[in-house]
C-alpha cells in the first residue's frame, strides 16, 4: 500500500532539519528514525523536526519519534519540534515527548533552541 508521507532533509552548519508532509504513521515514523540514524552516523546529533505539513499522527508514529529522541539523547544530542499543529502538539504532550525534546513555533526558533 502506498502512503502519502513525504520527508525532506536539510543539513545546516549546526543541525539537521527534517520536514515532514502527510500522515505520520508507522511508515512515516520509520522514515524519520532512519534519517536520524543516518544523521548520527554523520556525527550530527541535533535535529529540528518541522511538522508544518503534518496534521495527523498516530501512536505508532509517536513511538518511532520516542525512539529517535532516545537515540539522539544517547549521543548527547537533542530534538526540537517546530510548527506543531495544535492537535499534534497535544498528542506529543500527552505522550510525554516534551520531557525529552523541545518545541518551538518555527524552524528558526527551533535552531536557536538547539544552540
Amino acid at each position: 500500500m502506498t502512503s502519502d508521507f513525504g520527508l525532506t532533509t536539510d543539513y545546516t552548519a549546526d543541525c539537521l532539519i527534517l520536514s515532514t508532509a502527510g500522515y505520520i504513521n508507522s511508515d512515516g515514523g520509520d522514515q524519520i528514525l532512519a534519517k536520524i540514524q543516518e544523521a548520527l552516523s554523520r556525527d550530527v546529533n541535533r535535529v529540528v523536526l518541522n511538522l508544518l505539513d503534518s496534521k495527523v499522527i498516530n501512536s505508532i508514529g509517536i513511538s518511532f519519534l520516542i525512539e529517535a529522541i532516545e537515540l539522539l539523547m544517547n549521543a548527547g544530542g537533542k530534538m526540537v519540534f517546530a510548527n506543531l499543529d495544535p492537535a499534534v502538539e497535544k498528542a506529543l504532550q500527552i505522550m510525554g515527548l516534551f520531557h525529552f525534546a523541545g518545541r518551538a513555533p518555527s524552524v528558526t526558533d527551533a535552531q536557536k533552541e538547539l544552540n
Binding site: 500500500m1 504513521n25 498516530n58 513511538s63 539523547m73 505522550m95
Partner: protein, 545 residues
C-alpha cells in the same frame, strides 16, 4: 597471597562490581547494555576483544549486539548450536572464552572473548571475577527489562489517555468544521489516527448508490483485499443517507495487527459523534431558517395589516367600522373602505381560499388591482369581471377569492353591490328584520369568463345596518365543538339595535366568549355600515330583498 591482600582484592572487586552495575543499568538499549558490559570485561579482565550475542527465545536466532572489528572467536557465530541453558563452564588457565549465560528462562547472552597472546592466561581469580561480572550482567538485564516493561506500560497508558483525549477533542473539532464535507474528511482522519489504521475510507450513499467517497490519506492507494482482521467498519444513517466508515491495516511496531475491542469502541464512539454533530448542525440551520422565516412573516404581517384600515371615513349620516382577525400571522381575509374619486365609497370584504402566506399574497394582488379598477370609470359589474380575469391570471388553479364589493353613494344611501360567491351579508332593517344579500355569482378566479358576476342595487336607509363577514365568523368553534353559525349571527344582528362600531365590538366580544380557548380555524373579518339619517330617494332600479 596474605589474608589482607585477599580482603583488599575482594574489596576492590566489590567496588568494581558496584561501579559496573551502576554503569550497566544506565543502558538505554540492549546493544548499549552489551557494549557497556564488553567495556567492563575488557577493562577489568584485560580482554583484547569481547563479542556479545543475544537470543530472546528458543525459536529466535542469535542476534549480534556488540562485535569487535575482528571476531574474537574462530567461528562467525560460535553459539549457533549452543543450548540455552547456562553453560559457563570455564577452566583456567585459558586465553579464549566462549559461553552462554541464561538471564531468563528462554533468554540468553552469548559471549566470546580473548586475551592477548602476549598477556598471561586467565587464571582462577579471573574466572571467579568473570562469574561475578556475569551475575552483574544478569542483574542489570533484569533492571533493563523491568524498565523496558515500565516504559511500555507507560506508553500504553499514555496511548489510552491520548485516545480518550483525542476522542473528546475530535467532537469539538468536528463541531467547528465549516461544512459537512470538511467535517466528514476530518472525522475520517481522526478515526484513522485514533485506531492507528494505515488507511481509511468513508462512503456516503443514498438508496444503495454511492454519492461521495473520501480517503485518508487522500492520495494513498488502499489495499485491494485486506484480511478481515485488518478491517474495521461502522456506519450510521442520517436524512436518508448512509455514512460508512472503513479502516484498514492497524499498525504496530511489529507490523500489521488485528483491530481490537478498544478500536471498535473508539470507531463506534467517533461515528456517533459525527452523527450527533451533523444532527446538531442540521437543527441549528433549521432554527436559523425558522427564525428568519418568523422575521419575514412578522414583516409580511405588518405589511398586510397596513393594507387594511384601522380608521374609517367620517361621513355624515353613516357609521362604518370593521376589523380582521387572522388565524395565523398572515391571513387570506381582506376588507377595506376606499373613498372613490367621484365621492362614493367602496366597501370591500374578500376571503382568499386557504390560509397563511399563499393566501396573503393573493390578498395583496386583490388590493392592488382593486385600487386600480376603482379609480377608472368602470361599472361595478365590469370591475368584478376584470378582477375575476386578473385573479385567474395571477393565481394558481386551486386559489379563488370570495368577494363582496359595495359602492355606497353617501348622499342618497344607494348601495350598488356585487357578491362573488361570498358569505351572504345581512341587512338589518329598522324594525329588526334581517334580509340576506345572496351571492349572485361565482367566486373570483374560478373561470376566466365569469358572466355570473352581476352588480345589483339597493338602498341603505335610516336605522339600517349592513353587516358583511367572512365564514371565519360562522365557522368559529366553541370548546364543545359547536359552530358559531349563521343563525347566531342573524340573531345577534336582530337584537343589536346599535350603530356599526358598537355592533362590531359586540360581535367580537361574543365570538371571543363563545370560542373560549379554542383558536380560530379560519381568518375572521367583519365590516358594518349603518345609516343614521334619512336619505333622499332617487330614480332607478333597486334590488329589493
Amino acid at each position: 597471597m596474605s589474608h589482607f591482600s585477599k580482603i583488599d582484592e575482594l574489596f576492590v572487586h566489590r567496588r568494581a562490581l558496584q561501579a559496573g552495575f551502576d554503569n550497566l543499568i544506565h543502558a538505554r538499549t540492549l546493544p548499549d547494555l552489551a557494549e557497556r558490559f564488553a567495556s567492563l570485561l575488557r577493562w577489568h579482565l584485560r580482554l583484547l576483544c569481547v563479542d556479545i550475542w543475544f537470543k530472546a527465545a528458543d525459536d529466535l536466532p542469535w542476534v549480534a549486539l556488540s562485535l569487535e572489528s575482528e571476531p574474537c572467536y574462530d567461528e562467525e557465530n560460535p553459539f549457533r548450536d549452543c543450548a540455552l541453558a547456562s553453560s559457563v563452564d570455564l577452566q583456567a588457565p585459558c586465553r579464549e572464552l566462549s559461553f552462554t549465560v541464561a538471564v531468563e528462562e528462554t533468554t540468553c547472552f552469548g559471549i566470546a572473548a580473548r586475551r592477548d597472546s602476549d598477556d598471561t592466561p586467565l587464571d582462577q581469580s579471573d574466572i571467579l571475577s568473570l562469574h561475578l561480572f556475569l551475575q552483574t550482567l544478569s542483574n542489570a538485564y533484569q533492571v533493563f527489562v523491568t524498565r523496558q516493561q515500565e516504559r511500555e506500560a507507560t506508553f500504553s497508558l499514555n496511548t489510552h489517555r491520548l485516545q480518550i483525549n483525542s476522542l473528546v477533542d475530535a467532537g469539538v473539532e468536528l463541531f467547528a468544521a465549516r461544512d459537512d464535507k470538511t467535517l466528514l474528511i476530518l472525522a475520517l482522519q481522526q478515526a484513522a489516527a485514533l485506531t492507528s489504521a494505515s488507511f481509511g475510507r468513508l462512503t456516503v450513499s443514498r438508496e444503495g448508490e454511492v454519492i461521495a467517497t473520501y480517503h485518508f490519506p487522500e492520495n494513498a492507494v488502499a489495499p485491494a483485499h485486506p484480511a478481515i482482521s485488518s478491517r474495521l467498519e461502522s456506519e450510521f444513517e442520517f436524512l436518508g443517507k448512509t455514512y460508512a466508515f472503513l479502516l484498514m491495516n492497524k499498525e504496530s511496531r511489529n507490523g500489521t495487527v488485528s483491530f481490537d475491542e478498544t478500536d471498535r469502541v473508539l470507531l463506534t464512539g467517533q461515528t456517533r459523534q459525527v452523527k450527533v454533530t451533523m444532527e446538531n448542525r442540521y437543527l441549528y440551520r433549521q432554527s436559523l431558517e425558522q427564525e428568519r422565516f418568523k422575521q419575514e412573516l412578522a414583516v409580511a404581517a405588518a405589511i398586510q395589516r397596513a393594507l387594511m384600515p384601522t380608521t374609517f371615513p367620517r361621513i355624515s349620516g353613516f357609521e362604518i367600522d370593521g376589523f380582521s382577525w387572522p388565524c395565523e400571522e398572515v391571513g387570506g381575509d381582506f376588507f377595506h373602505c376606499i373613498p372613490m374619486e367621484d365621492g362614493r365609497l367602496a366597501l370591500v370584504v374578500g376571503d382568499v381560499s386557504g390560509k397563511g402566506i399563499p393566501a396573503a399574497l393573493l390578498v395583496s394582488t386583490l388590493h392592488a388591482s382593486l385600487h386600480a379598477y376603482l379609480d377608472g370609470q368602470l361599472s361595478l359589474t365590469e370591475i368584478g369581471r376584470k378582477l375575476n380575469s386578473f385573479i385567474c391570471e395571477s393565481s394558481t388553479a386551486n386559489k379563488f377569492i370570495t368577494c363582496f364589493i359595495g359602492i355606497l353613494t353617501t348622499a342618497t344611501g344607494e348601495l350598488e353591490v356585487l357578491n362573488a360567491g361570498h358569505e351572504s351579508p345581512f341587512l338589518r332593517r329598522k324594525d329588526g328584520t334581517i334580509a340576506e344579500i345572496r351571492s349572485s355569482g361565482l367566486p373570483l378566479g374560478v373561470f376566466q369568463d365569469n358572466p355570473t358576476l352581476q352588480a345589483e342595487r339597493l338602498r341603505l336607509s335610516d336605522g339600517e345596518t349592513l353587516l358583511v363577514f367572512t365564514d371565519g365568523l360562522s365557522d368559529a368553534l366553541s370548546e364543545t365543538g359547536e359552530a358559531y353559525g349563521v343563525i347566531r349571527i342573524r340573531e345577534k344582528l336582530r337584537q343589536a339595535e346599535m350603530p356599526a362600531g358598537e355592533l362590531i365590538r359586540s360581535i367580537r366580544e361574543d365570538v371571543h366568549r363563545f370560542a373560549g380557548t379554542v383558536p380560530l380555524a379560519d381568518d375572521l373579518t367583519l365590516l358594518a355600515v349603518s345609516c343614521t339619517r334619512p336619505c333622499p330617494a332617487t330614480a332607478g332600479d333597486y334590488y329589493s330583498i
